[in-house]
C-alpha cells in the first residue's frame, strides 16, 4: 500500500473515531439514547382497568415532581386528545395502542417512537421551551391516518400546579 494511501486511511479512521467519540460522550453526559422500553400489555383488556384505564389517562405528577403522560392510540385518535406538561421538568410519556401500529412524534424535539399494540412505549424527555407541540401519528395506520393527531401543551413551570387535573388532559378553555 502506498504511503499516501496509508495516510489517508489513518485520517479516515481518525474522523470515524472522532464521530463515535462525540456520540458516545454526548450520550453519556446527556442521557441520550433511543427509547428501548420492552413492556407488554394486553391490548384487549387495557381499558378495563390498570394503568391505561380511562380515568388514569393524561398527565399525572409523581411524588418526585416529574410528570407522566399516559396516552392510548387507536384508529384514528390519541386519547386524551391533548395533554399539558410543564417546562424544565422531567417528563415520561407512556403510550400503548389498542389496535394497530401507530407513531408518536413531537416535531421540533427528538421525541419519536412507534406505538405497538401489546407493548408499552416509553419516552423520557425534558421540554426546554413552552409552547404548543402538535402530535401527529407518523406511522400509517389506515384510511383515517391523516386526521390522527393530538397536541402537547407545555406551560411555564409556575403555571402547572394551578391547573386542575381535568385541565391537564384537555385543551378546552375552562
Amino acid at each position: 500500500m502506498a504511503r499516501t494511501e496509508k495516510r489517508w486511511l489513518l485520517l479516515m479512521v481518525g474522523l470515524l473515531t472522532l464521530f463515535m467519540a462525540i456520540v458516545v460522550a454526548s450520550t453519556m453526559t446527556s442521557a441520550l439514547h433511543p427509547p428501548s422500553n420492552v413492556e407488554t400489555i394486553d391490548p384487549v383488556t387495557l381499558h378495563l382497568g390498570g394503568e391505561f384505564a380511562e380515568s388514569n389517562l393524561g398527565t399525572a405528577q409523581e411524588p418526585d415532581g416529574s410528570l407522566t403522560a399516559r396516552i392510548v392510540a387507536d384508529q384514528y385518535a390519541f386519547v386524551p386528545y391533548c395533554v399539558k406538561l410543564a417546562v424544565d421538568t422531567p417528563v415520561k410519556f407512556r403510550l400503548t395502542s389498542v389496535d394497530v401500529v401507530h407513531g408518536f412524534l413531537l416535531p421540533a424535539t427528538n421525541v419519536n417512537t412507534m406505538v405497538v399494540p401489546g407493548y408499552v412505549a416509553e419516552v423520557r424527555t425534558r421540554f426546554t421551551r413552552p409552547g404548543v407541540y402538535s402530535m401527529p401519528c407518523n406511522e400509517f395506520c389506515g384510511n383515517g391516518h391523516h386526521g390522527m393527531w393530538a397536541r402537547v401543551i407545555v406551560v411555564p413551570k409556575p403555571e402547572f400546579p394551578a391547573l386542575a387535573p381535568t385541565e391537564r388532559s384537555s385543551c378546552v378553555q375552562q
Binding site: 489517508w8 446527556s30 441520550l32 439514547h33 424535539t109 419516552v123 423520557r124 424527555t125 425534558r126 421540554f127
Partner: protein, 68 residues
C-alpha cells in the same frame, strides 16, 4: 453513407481541441510530490462533510432535547 461520415468530425480530430502531449519527464515532475491536487480536492470534500455533520449534531440534534 460515405458522405455522412466525411461530414462528421470528432472534436478530437482537430489538434487544437486535444491537450498537448506531455512528456514522461514532465509527468514525473508533476507527480514528484504525490497527487497533491487529488488530496486537496478530497480534503475539501471531507471538511465539508465534517462541518455538516458537526453542525447538524450540535446545532440541530442536541438542542432538540434529550430522550431516553
Amino acid at each position: 453513407m460515405s458522405e455522412v461520415l466525411e461530414r462528421h468530425h470528432s472534436a478530437a480530430a482537430s489538434p487544437a481541441h486535444v491537450a498537448a502531449p506531455i512528456s514522461s519527464e514532465a509527468a514525473a515532475e508533476a507527480l514528484r510530490h504525490g497527487p497533491r491536487g487529488a488530496f486537496f480536492l478530497a480534503s475539501v470534500a471531507v471538511l465539508i462533510l465534517l462541518a455538516g455533520w458537526l453542525a447538524f449534531y450540535f446545532l440541530l440534534f442536541l438542542p432538540r432535547g434529550s430522550i431516553g
